[in-house]
């Protein structure tokens, strides 16, 4: 799954016009609502409800409880680790790039290309991204070979493997960092010069300004974006599948295999797996939306 930037808008709603026809105005959104119900909401509910049903359609917690078996728990655990790691590193790296572009005194013309590239890279996920990283960090990849031949560093001997936790995290960063850059650059731009100057003239050092003023102001944006990146990584199937096949047992791949009928015997366990995904990405996105609105209130 890829996520393009969604700049928040406090929309000035068109003035509501009262007319005699107003009672039938809802007819205008019937097609959209029908579409959303049939192809978004009902399919999802189908899964959610299925997670609490047994073979005969009776209510049960058994499926959800079955998630707590070692193989599935470990899949969730590694999924969460990869998502947290790639979101955290993506946030940190993206923050520094955004800060460099926004307030780092770089030549002004560099900003455009950086933002455009971020737009491209944040949408460059999926199978081709896996290929690119295999060609670069795989056993015969450019970087692997260069490091070995020029610097005598064998990263594979050091425990790195593109098909593992570290490799997947490194790969995910390719779309995580640019997404962070796209979201956080406007937020850093929003830091007013006067805030820094007011803090400094009151005696604060630059680190104090960042600790007491800038980072607290940015905090909702940072936390929200972290949650968004987490969900982004957690739901990513294609990159992981193309990179590792089914050798790395993470939740989306487990679910993929389950849907194809390869692995798990019990179809209702698949529902429970999917429910777990929805819950985790739902929580993450909930955090994103809540913190986002809080950040906007301040910046106003």
């Amino acid at each position: 799954m890829t996520t393009a930037i969604t700049p928040a808008e406090a929309g000035a709603a068109a003035p509501a016009r009262r007319s005699a026809r107003v009672s039938f105005a809802w007819l205008g959104i019937v097609p959209f609502m029908a579409f959303a119900l049939l192809f978004l909401i009902v399919p999802t509910l189908q899964i959610v409800i299925g997670a609490f049903r047994d073979q005969d359609g009776a209510f049960t917690f058994a499926n959800v409880l079955h998630l707590f078996q070692p193989s599935i728990l470990s899949a969730y655990w590694i999924s969460i680790r990869i998502s947290v790691a790639s979101a955290l590193l993506g946030c940190v790296a993206g923050f520094f790039i955004a800060a460099a572009v926004s307030i780092g005194n770089l030549p002004r013309w560099m900003r455009g290309p950086v933002m455009t590239f971020s737009g491209v890279a944040s949408n460059f996920a999926g199978v081709p991204l896996a290929f690119a990283f295999l060609a670069t960090f795989g056993r015969l990849g450019l970087v692997t070979v260069l490091l070995r031949d020029w610097f005598g560093v064998n990263i594979y001997a050091m425990g790195f493997n593109i098909l593992s936790f570290s490799g997947l995290t490194l790969t995910y960063l390719f779309f995580q960092i640019p997404l962070m850059v796209l979201i956080v650059t406007p937020a850093i731009d929003g830091l007013k010069r006067e805030w820094r100057e007011a803090a400094v003239i009151l005696g604060a050092s630059t680190p104090q300004y960042w600790r007491m003023v800038a980072l607290p102001i940015l905090w909702p944006t940072l936390l929200g974006t972290f949650a968004l990146l987490f969900a982004n990584a957690f739901g990513a199937v294609a990159t992981a599948f193309a990179l590792t096949g089914s050798s790395l047992s993470i939740v989306p791949i487990l679910l993929f295999a389950q849907i194809r009928g390869d692995v798990l015997q019990d179809p209702h366990l698949g529902y429970a797996l999917a429910l777990g995904m929805i819950v985790l990405t739902g929580i993450a996105n909930g955090i994103y939306i809540v913190t986002r609105s809080r950040a906007e209130r301040w910046i106003k």
């Binding site: 007011a198 604060a204 007491m212 102001i217």
Partner: protein
């Protein structure tokens, strides 16, 4: 020795000279305004005092100490910005406490000082509000309290009232001045609003294209402007072009008549062009004791402004604006009336331009 001294201060941005040869001595406790049109270098000068800009040349001393090499956070200066610049993530009390907290003051002292400052700005009930919950006027008062909480040596205000609406502007400027007097803090106040500068300041620095045109009390600035720029920028003014008739007698030919001018005409010679300035309130329609000049004129415009009636009268070759007080007993003059304008020859100001 003055408390705050600027001597020979200059600032160039790339090739543009924004402030040139700025000299100013500010006494302890004095309230100084920088007055001038936008872009004349007021903010730049203020920011050099604060330490956000480094002068290209010149010295800035506070209490005898050269501060040019010091960072802004080492200068012990308070600053208030046009945009308030309150920290949006902190409550009112936390904003006011910021400088004290950074200075590592003990908790109890901070709390006491914050309470005292909120009392001074008369907003103790808003201590736990966030800036976005305050009106502009309230925000600016909090910003003032924040700047003053650290007991700075000098207070700098950069157009602090420009973003507020007219009514609050007037009440807040009185409040700022009262607080400044009570604390006796040395203050520089930047504004492009002459009314603000005239009503608040001990002395005004009128700036024009990066230069200091005049430094003086509001009375001096208003009544004896040093340059034609000062004369035209501060207050309403009659500007009349004339030709010197007789330098020794002090007469200037305006249109077809000679008028007596008490100001020294200096080294000028007869036949030279000269600009004269005259405040509208110096001219009356009825003679007053001490007025020694009378000019025949015809009224061309009458504007009723409330307590004052503004009249424009043609004296042949020039138009003079004058203000008369409204009096319910006598009707205002009418257009076309022939009148006699009375003034004192010492009211004329010869502009140096």
């Amino acid at each position: 020795m003055a408390f705050l001294e600027l001597s020979g201060v200059r600032k160039d941005f790339e090739l543009v000279r924004v402030v040139r040869d700025f000299n100013l001595d500010v006494e302890r406790g004095e309230f100084i305004s920088f007055l001038g049109p936008s872009g004349c270098g007021k903010t730049t000068t203020l920011r050099m005092v604060a330490g956000f800009e480094t002068p290209t040349a010149g010295e800035i001393r506070i209490a005898g100490r050269d501060v040019v090499g010091l960072k802004p956070n080492q200068r012990n200066i308070g600053m208030v910005f046009q945009s308030y610049a309150l920290f949006p993530n902190m409550t009112v009390a936390q904003n006011v406490a910021f400088g004290l907290k950074v200075a590592g003051k003990p908790r109890a002292e901070i709390d006491a000082r914050v309470a005292q400052m909120l009392g001074i700005i008369k907003l103790p009930q808003l201590a736990d509000r966030y800036p976005f919950q305050l009106s502009g006027g309230q925000q600016q008062r909090v910003a003032l309290a924040r700047a003053l909480a650290v007991q700075p040596q000098v207070l700098l205000l950069d157009e602090p009232l420009s973003a507020l609406d007219a009514k609050i502007r007037v009440s807040l400027r009185e409040e700022i001045r009262a607080i400044q007097k009570a604390l006796g803090i040395t203050t520089i106040y930047v504004t492009h609003d002459q009314e603000e500068a005239l009503s608040m300041s001990d002395r005004i620095v009128v700036m024009h294209e990066g230069r200091v045109d005049q430094i003086g009390t509001p009375f001096e600035i208003y009544n004896t402007p040093a340059t034609s720029f000062v004369a035209s920028f501060v207050g309403t003014l009659n500007r009349i072009e004339g030709i010197i008739a007789d330098p020794s007698a002090g007469t200037v030919r305006v249109g077809a008549r000679d008028v007596a001018v008490a100001s020294p005409l200096g080294a000028r010679r007869a036949g030279e062009q000269v600009s004269l300035a005259l405040r509208p309130e110096a001219v009356t329609l009825a003679p007053r004791p001490g007025q020694d000049v009378a000019i025949e004129a015809r009224i061309v415009e009458v504007a009723f402004l409330g307590s004052v009636i503004r009249v424009r009268a043609d004296i042949g070759g020039a138009t003079i604006t004058l203000d008369t007080f409204n009096s319910p007993a006598s009707p205002p003059p009418r257009i076309g009336d022939a009148v006699t304008l009375h003034l004192s020859s010492s009211d004329w100001v010869v502009l140096a331009d």
